[in-house]
Subunit: 205 residues, 2 copies
């Protein structure tokens, strides 16, 4: 692309660095800003800069937070002895929106992935182990995506906590509610038979 | 969506105002910035603010430019008596990349669209008429998208310049190079027969 303006070119180049946004889309977004009042660009950039510079991670669960300890960790009504291990804040938001979990979270910040160069030391695994060692934890629930990386991460952590007398579980894998059985993949369907649940349980929630 | 952080929520809300970007995508983009060095967010916001605050429109053709008169308008090798009327800078870039046009452009800044509340007074039509009245123009080429709004805009301008002794043309409408004839729509195919061209011309470019 050949730009008539350096300012435009710079803006497009920067926006195009965001994941999933190509140069054509970036150009469309940037030209959109030009048609809006200057304030919109001001608010947008201000919000991004403040977010990037001032955001904190909760000291306890490593979730994104505006304060030292997040709302979930400071909530006295929640059960601090049950910890749900998730990849990032989006998973916390997804599980919170189900209103089915009343324990605390532990945000790993990613999954072990040799291909992307992410090892255990890049995640908050040590902080999770410290919680287990301290004896305050009764149950750990793994809620990582059921992918190769997710399973690897689960297993890595499991090997280090199995010697402690705590319950370790993973979220159920099975056929999604509303899915047609014939289109389910074999692995999922196979596991859903092995890990079948008492019928009464399927009536809950 | 329920956010644990006001800073995050603000950033997502602002990004989600961009066209074609929903709140889920906005969240993904914003969290991406968090994983990158702070400098990236700084460069991004700086580029957007500078673009929005410092960008100029060329005094002659109304194209986006860093200076008063754009590179195309100041290029002595280009034919100032032929003016190609386009909607916005993206069309200028598209036509320039073909290297088939050596005249100047006139950027309207949109198309007449009563539904979107865009009337002739919102576009740079008057400035185009001034050029025609001044007598320096020999040919006007309409290069708006062949949509209802594009055709309306073409016709509106045409009615005001037809009394002047200048050539008025539109870019050819027909079957795209490489397209299968059977999949072409009837209107396009019909017009491509009515406006058939001498065979020798199809051998060019």
């Amino acid at each position: 692309m050949d730009f008539s303006s350096k300012l435009l070119e710079n803006a497009v180049n920067e926006v195009a660095q965001l994941p999933g946004i190509g140069r054509r889309t970036a150009l469309r977004l940037v030209l959109h800003l030009l048609k809006q009042p200057k304030e919109q660009t001001h608010y947008l950039t201000e919000a991004l800069m403040r977010f990037r510079n001032e955001i904190k991670l909760c000291k306890n669960c490593h979730n994104i937070s505006d304060v030292e300890l997040c709302e979930i960790c400071t909530n006295k009504k929640r059960d601090a002895s049950v910890i749900c291990v998730v990849e990032d804040i989006r998973d916390v938001m997804a599980i919170e929106s189900t209103a089915q979990f009343r324990g605390l979270y532990h945000v790993l910040g990613g999954k072990i992935s040799p291909i992307e160069g992410i090892g255990p030391q890049n995640l908050t695994i040590e902080s999770l182990l410290n919680k287990v060692v301290s004896g305050s934890v009764k149950e750990i629930i793994f809620a990582l995506s059921p992918t190769m990386e997710g399973d690897t991460t689960n297993f890595y952590i499991y090997r280090q906590i199995e010697k402690y007398a705590i319950k370790v579980s993973t979220i159920a894998r099975g056929i999604s509610v509303g899915d047609e059985l014939e289109y389910a993949d074999e692995v999922t369907l196979g596991r859903s038979i092995i890990n079948r649940i008492p019928f009464e349980n399927s009536l809950k929630a």
